[in-house]
């Protein structure tokens, strides 16, 4: 039995092509994945991301608990509403999940975790809570829905739909959030475009979705979500990283705070490690489409190396295939590598990602 979000019926009414996504019955597209992709880059699109799980952590000492639990430093969160992207690590330094932490007050932080890892994450967090801070109250919020509205016109469309939201959110900077009545509105996303991620009561989600649609926001499915996040150079948990990979070999070194005195789970393992691999961007030079698990070969410092594509696909904005790939540290931007696609050896150029940001091609 597939799990359903509060918007399941609404997707079906809008003729979504539904697929099993890690046990969730989710929209893949509503007709054309490419059109949905372009709509987000050029105007505004919306995604049902209610399969992701908000978890509220409340009580005295939440901040101290999170200082230990996650790899980025929650001490960077000084203004209420501020958000932080971070990994949660195993003691061995592998990535349990990547998540966003929202600082609401000194006694209330909210984290949002991936759908596929939600149960594992919750169990892990509860286990850590029991030893580190038994008094904390940890509440998974399956009673909430989450809608991401993304694109250059996304904020303006939301303002049309939620009364008072313009006044409440116009001053929000990137990675800041605020609460307006029942709505939690964050200026975050997974597309490389401006916009909001909005958390709201499940029973209010269908009316909200339809109001956005009436305001000209295009429904967009998981297909477009994946090509948008790949262009934006954002990692996907389970593909670009998992418990067997370190953030230092996943392009996420910038999210790990190894400088402060603070100890966190996985820190010692990262300090002891000697990363030899990197996550890099590829742009295909020949015709074809790069896909996950294709082999990458080439030379770095006179040595043959072999790596693998972790996420690949066709970039609708660039009109060429792009990928994230993991391989030896010695390979640099502008180097040429080969990707094994079926019986062919295709040429690809190593690039710094993101590939696309705010509608502009960067590679």
């Amino acid at each position: 039995m597939l799990k359903k979000t509060p918007l399941n019926e609404t997707h079906r009414e809008m003729n979504a092509k539904m697929v099993d996504f890690g046990g969730w019955d989710m929209p893949l597209h509503y007709g054309s994945q490419l059109e949905e992709h372009h709509k987000v880059r050029q105007d505004a699109g919306m995604f049902d991301v209610s399969h992701m799980l908000p978890v509220d952590i409340k009580g005295d000492g939440v901040r101290d608990f999170l200082r230990k639990l996650v790899a980025n430093n929650v001490d960077k969160l000084t203004i209420p509403g501020k958000a932080l992207y971070t990994c949660m690590l195993t003691p061995q330094g592998g990535i349990i999940d990547d998540l966003i932490v929202y600082f609401l007050s000194e006694s209330w932080f909210r984290i949002v975790v991936n759908a596929g890892t939600a149960e594992k994450d919750t169990a892990w967090i509860l286990k850590q809570r029991d030893t580190l801070a038994p008094a904390l109250e940890i509440t998974p919020r399956r009673d909430l829905a989450m809608v991401a509205v993304q694109g250059p016109n996304a904020r303006a469309k939301v303002w049309q739909v939620i009364p008072g939201s313009q006044e409440a959110t116009e001053a929000l900077k990137i990675f800041q959030s605020t609460t307006l009545g029942n709505f939690f509105i964050a200026r975050t996303g997974y597309t490389g475009e401006d916009g909001f991620e909005i958390i709201l009561p499940a029973d209010e989600a269908p009316a909200f979705w339809k109001a956005l649609h009436a305001a000209g926001v295009a429904p967009a499915g998981l297909g477009a979500r994946d090509t948008l996040r790949l262009e934006a150079g954002m990692n996907l948990y389970g593909q670009d990283m998992d418990e067997s990979t370190s953030p230092l070999e996943s392009g996420l070194g910038w999210t790990v705070d190894l400088k402060s005195e603070r100890d966190f789970i996985g820190k010692q393992a990262l300090l002891d490690s000697n990363p030899t691999q990197q996550l890099a961007g590829l742009v295909l030079l020949d015709r074809g489409v790069l896909r996950g698990h294709q082999k990458v070969v080439g030379q770095a410092n006179g040595q043959e190396f072999e790596g693998e594509i972790t996420s690949g696909g066709f970039s609708p904005t660039i009109n060429q295939s792009i990928a994230l790939a993991r391989f030896a540290n010695g390979v640099s931007p502008e180097d040429e590598v080969y990707v094994m696609v079926r019986d062919k050896k295709l040429r690809a150029k190593v690039v710094k990602y993101p590939f696309v940001r705010n509608g502009k091609v960067l590679v």
Binding site: H29, V289, F314, P316, S321
Partner: protein, 129 residues
């Protein structure tokens, strides 16, 4: 979309049209393009190459996935639709006219074993369950 009755079909979702000169034109069905979604790349076989029946001979890639196209019958490739390489979306727009390649059959009797429109409809009906 209705399934054209003047074509033959395979269970792997290719359509086959027998031309007046005895060659056969091959494409993928509307159902196949719908399953795949927006097409972004087509890899066509080389002209002059021979394939046996059910052998992989082309690749159709959408934003979502790569799908092998199988030769519906044995034969030699005599022509490919190069226009598709630059405009793979033609397959989404009009699958039954966006042909991939033409074959000169080496054993024309294999055509008799292909499905007609009703038989292909049956295949689709059973897939839906």
């Amino acid at each position: 979309m209705s399934i054209p009755t003047d074509l033959k079909y395979t269970t792997s979702h290719e359509w086959v049209k027998t031309e007046a000169d005895g060659t056969v034109t091959v494409g993928i069905t509307d159902h196949a393009q719908e399953l795949l979604g927006d097409m972004v790349f087509v890899e066509l076989p080389d002209v002059g190459k021979t394939f046996s029946q059910k052998q992989e001979c082309a690749v159709a890639e959408s934003v979502k996935a790569a799908a092998d196209v199988y030769s519906p019958i044995s034969g030699e490739v005599v022509e490919v639709n190069s226009a598709l390489v630059d405009n793979p979306e033609k397959i989404n727009e009009d699958a039954f006219n966006a042909w991939l390649f033409k074959l000169k059959p080496s054993n024309a009797s294999e055509l008799d074993g292909l499905l007609d429109a009703a038989g292909y409809q049956n295949v689709l009906d059973n897939e839906d369950h």
